[in-house]
Symmetry: C2
Subunit: 720 residues, 2 copies
């Protein structure tokens, strides 16, 4: 079987493990060659095979292949490390052949060999960092054949199996495996609320308290189930507790270096008290974010209401787009600025590990994400509907927004006497976020970049052809005919951006938020999400395979800070749902469109009870789910029991069954008495006498019997 | 140095490890002797030395001593088990001499040898259970000398040191060690609120919002600090995670026995789903408890108000005691009944381990404890004060309670026109619970039983003397003169009840509750508790030493379910404190004693914000405290690092530094080519050609240099 017998796609990878994209700037030719020399020496020193091919005009492609021998050693070391850190229960044996390896483990081990610091046994090649400025990126190659087969397979399935998830993990590592497992669990769990939501929409209508309660309970069960699932998967994939094996944050700047007296290690120290001080900056950051984004959103919201519901002058049909235009231009600017601040803040906090750094950044971004995602609906539900009557008169200040477009005379005709609260506004908004925005999002994420890339490639080819004098017959690069297709694929992949699973997770968590917070408004929300997520799983996989470099497999035992976010959203959901139900359950509005009969204290009491019942239910659900023993957990338990049993078996105390006048006992007594005599030579030990009175157990029995008979005698006589 | 040179107290223990109190009933003399025979054989078979002395009229005292040899083996086995279960980081070495032992470890190991099931290497002696009906109790003897020395020492100290706590743990085991450590931490933490409360009482007065906020924060910090402290102590005492080594619940009744296919063990199974169903009974139990106890307390409360504040007929001075008498007679009855139900329920839930059983029972009792402790104050604060005006007219029904004592004519004079809410009632009640009840409690707990015991002993001696014909010169028992004092002490201790640390912990947790829930009412609460707890620590120790059998050392890594209770109380404290402050901060009452200006929605909003700010603060405090590295945690980390380092050191990959034409690289290439040739014999491998193009890294460098020069050449020229 030869690879060349395949068509252009799917393309084999010629056993190349990694490709280094080495860029040589035009300015420093000698320096580039110098560094290439060093790179190749380092790679050879670490035992890698290398091949060089041209990339594009300013880059080389260095293909790397790890020989079996050193790969085995690296894998073994990695597994021993796992065992020492408690990730594996059994000590791995056999350095020469460490047993079956997954694709992901192999790539991870090689990546460790390439990038880990020298003192930890790596080659310390750090792309774009330190002495490796010209190393643009290090990436593995996509396994197109498998990817295509999976995509075909999944497009015919409703649910992925456990084995499918294992395969994803085997190819792309646990971190991405966890994302797909989450997506899959979420999708499966959505079946119930989708069904219930649909029935509820048919029978109960909007703002049904029953739907709200069921939805809240569903959210809790899902979150707690997923936590359990994480443990299960963590054990199944042998990554439970992997966060202890954190990788160093390359940007960490220690305040001082201290020699640890006990371990003899040089510790780079940055005092946690100082970090805490910097972390306190998060509070003003959160306040500023809320104010800035809140101001933008609230203003656009107010303008929209003014134009759509108060203003009735000319050009209204066009003017209604003003707020949308404002929002879609101002919000990204504000978000980008705040993201920069968040990045800067996280850098200042100066974390020692990459993992801590990422978590801290995600936490900061959460505030921004929440506001941009949910604030608009919050404003409609809890400001616009209850207080519109009071606020709308003040909206006249937004008259300035229409002034540029309307003549002075026309402006005078603006009046707002016949303002009415639009009770359907809230629902329209929720539908927008639950349906329209999801579809738009999927397109923006998958389809648009794909088309853009295709166009970019076409353009590049065109311009290169032009540069080469429109000679279509000769290929652009002087490649060996066998390798043309392969090198085309590699050049293609080298151009792609790097994948970060965080963004996809965020998207799903935000989506869960709409469900938990606002789905009482429109019970079809889960139905929409169900369809969306079937597609999402597939389109995300397509995206990873086609629009990103193959990610370097990373390990994880959780979806990270998103887990807490899910819990938080479910919790807040209990508050918003109860408030929405109370306020709107009889469509909430009086005849004039004002919600007259909402009583403040009743609303607060409703929220208070809903929230605390939620918390109690959560406690119960947690306790119940913790009792479920998943297959992996069971298997691990069994394994541990067997291990301990076999070890303790070698130690078990031989149980001596004494006959009368048992020898061991006598020997013990004899030795005691000898001890006692030996002691007497030095000093009298008072307890020796005490323990010498009854020579062995049968003497004790004799004394005991005597006592029993003596004491019981008279009493027994009395009874007669 | 001989023990006999000491006075009667403190008394040495003649190296006796345990004493078995063996009771022989009057009815079955032969059976008693038979069982004694078996007992002594079993003990001898397990390698113990025994001595028998008479106890009182119906009991024998069997003294047990474990020879060094078997004790060493038992200790070693126990330590290996700890290591296998992850309690120890290092594998214990040396079966012959397992290294230094604490008193507690020795006693625990011997207890295990005595009571563990045969299949786990014990002698399976189960007091009062199964075949050992006549074995009344197995208990170690108090080390009076040390106990007295400690009591003297501590009475002069304000704070116990870390070493003192270690000593308690070494003598009494980790479970009691944890109680004293908690008491000590709590006492130390009380210093701040006592000081702040006192200043606040002087300057800010009652119901100060500032005090409330500080108090809430203090509660959170204390609870979170203690959680951290538990981890620290757990590591220091090598008990972290000890709960996995749970001991079997002897009353567990499996539904079926299943052979575990994987481990080959016979598993006794009781399905968790069935247990869950029984656990659901907790809900009606809690409801019934609340209703029953609530009804008793509320009724007595109402009668009290009626008599003290409405009734103004004759005999008022005496009648006010009616509710107190009612309460102190009805409440114990109701509590006892409910406790019985709780015991029954817990038994029905049929837990597999003793630990689970205890936790489940404590959780059930919590409801009862909470109601009896806090409901009265709750009623005053949240029912009496806001609603008394509306309720009092209905209290006339309690006229019946005075009727038996008052003539019909007098009864007519009863009127309740001039009823006024007593704003000081709440404070009086809090003062009662914070000061009076605490003092009474300490007395009831320590002084009264001590006096009662002394009297009982005197009475017993008196009656025995009488039975022996008033002959004071001859001793009651026919003891060896050397042993008279010792046996007197042992007979004394055999009579004492068994100590359960749960009750003392409950007392402290309930006390913490008064502080967190109601101390805004009277900021001197922490001052009172500070003094009380200094005494409490000492009197509890006195109690353990003098009024209870020496407890068998048990291990624990936490104070158990009380920890969650502390968290819950701190949480509820944020709600009650904010509500109290809002309602009473300007003494809360209008001129007529009615709190007229309390607005429901404002109250609810206050509570809502207070609670959520509390939760946010808790989150921050938790995060901050988790960053503090305590000495033990640091030490453990260091130990683990050293261990891993030493192991990984043996595996580290030798780093080959290549010179030009490096040999290892060439060898690798050569071997690859050989491989390639070998493959060619079978089938052509397409990647061989690819990897064969550049023979080694210097060839790669050559190609790379050529490409760089070729591509860069024209561009460089352009730039010039």
């Amino acid at each position: 079987m030869t690879f060349s017998s395949f068509n252009e796609e799917p393309q084999g990878n010629y056993d190349a493990d990694y490709v280094i994209r080495y860029s040589f700037g035009a300015s420093d030719r000698e320096g580039s060659i110098e560094q290439l020399n060093k790179l190749l020496q380092t790679l050879a020193g670490a035992g890698f095979l290398t091949e060089i091919r041209p990339g594009d005009k300013t880059t080389l492609l260095v293909f790397i292949r790890a020989p079996e021998q050193s790969l085995h050693r690296a894998t073994h070391t990695s597994r021993v490390r796992d065992w020492l850190y408690g990730l594996r229960n059994t000590q791995p044996d056999g350095e020469t052949s460490p047993g079956p390896q997954t694709d992901a483990e192999r790539l991870r081990a090689i990546n460790y060999m390439l990038t880990a610091p020298v003192e930890e046994g790596g080659a310390n090649i750090t792309p774009k960092h330190g002495e490796w400025k010209n190393v643009d990126s290090i990436f593995p190659l996509h396994d197109d054949k498998t990817n295509q087969a999976w995509m075909r397979d999944w497009s015919k399935k409703t649910l992925l199996t456990r084995e499918d998830l294992d395969q994803i993990r085997d190819k792309f590592g646990e971190k991405i495996g966890f994302y797909f497992a989450f997506l899959q669990s979420y999708f499966r769990f959505l079946l119930f609320p989708a069904l219930f939501g649909f029935s509820s929409w048919l029978i109960l209508g909007y703002y049904s308290p029953i739907y709200a309660v069921v939805n809240c309970i569903w959210c809790v069960v899902f979150v707690e189930y997923w936590k359990r699932q994480e443990i299960d998967l963590g054990i199944r994939w042998q990554v439970r507790g992997v966060s202890v094996l954190s990788s160093k944050n390359r940007h960490f700047q220690p305040e001082s270096e201290i020699r640890d007296e006990d371990t003899g290690e040089m510790l780079q120290v940055f005092p946690w008290t100082r970090r805490l001080q910097i972390q306190l900056l998060q509070i003003p950051f959160a306040v500023v974010s809320i104010l800035a984004l809140g101001a933008v959103i609230a203003t656009c919201f107010a303008i929209e209401i003014f134009i759509s519901e108060v203003y009735n002058g000319p050009l209204k049909g066009y003017l209604v787009f003003i707020p949308t235009i404002l929002l879609s231009s101002l919000l990204p600017i504000a978000s980008t600025l705040l993201t920069k601040v968040a990045t800067k803040l996280t850098e200042l906090e100066n974390y020692e590990t990459k993992e801590d750094h990422d978590v801290a950044f995600i936490q900061k971004m959460l505030v921004i994400n929440f506001i941009t995602s949910y604030l608009a609906i919050f404003l409609t539900a809890f400001v616009y509907v209850p207080f519109a009557g009071a606020i709308v008169p003040y909206l006249d200040v937004f008259r300035v927004t229409v002034r540029p477009f309307v003549s002075q005379e026309d402006e005078k005709t603006i009046n707002h006497v016949d303002f009415k609260i639009d009770p359907a506004r809230l629902r329209k908004q929720v539908i927008y976020f639950a349906v329209t925005a999801q579809i738009v999002n999927t397109c923006m994420e998958t389809v648009v970049p794909f088309v853009m890339r295709k166009l970019a490639i076409k353009y590049k080819e065109y311009s290169e052809e032009k540069a080469n004098g429109n000679d279509k017959s000769t290929p652009v690069y002087d490649d060996h005919p066998d390798e043309v297709a392969f090198l085309k694929k590699v050049r293609n992949e080298a151009e792609l951006p790097e994948y970060d699973v965080t963004n996809d997770l965020r998207e799903m968590v935000i989506q869960f938020g709409y469900l938990s917070l606002f789905s009482t408004v429109w019970p079809l929300v889960p139905v929409s999400f169900l369809f969306n997520n079937w597609l999402e799983l597939r389109s995300d996989f397509f995206k990873i395979c086609k629009e990103f470099k193959r990610p370097v497999p990373e390990r994880a035992d959780t979806i990270g800070p998103w887990l807490d976010t899910l819990g938080l959203l479910a919790w807040v959901g209990s508050i918003t749902s109860s408030a929405l139900v109370y306020m709107f359950s009889n469509e909430g509005l009086g005849p004039d469109g004002n919600p007259t009969d909402i009583r403040g204290w009743m609303l607060m009491v409703t929220i208070f009870f809903a929230e605390h019942i939620y918390l109690a239910v959560r406690y119960v659900v947690k306790a119940t789910i913790s009792k479920i023993e998943t297959p992996s957990i069971r298997q691990e338990r069994t394994q541990k029991i067997l291990q301990r049993k076999s070890y303790l078996g070698t130690l078990s105390v031989p149980q001596t069954k004494p006959d009368i006048g048992d020898k061991t006992v006598e020997i013990t007594h004899a030795s005691l008495e000898e001890d006692a005599r030996a002691h007497t030579l030095q000093e009298a030990h008072p307890s020796d006498q005490f323990w010498g009175r009854q020579k062995n157990w049968s003497e004790s029995l004799h004394i005991g019997t005597t006592i029993i008979k003596a004491y019981q005698g008279p009493e027994a006589k009395k009874q007669q």
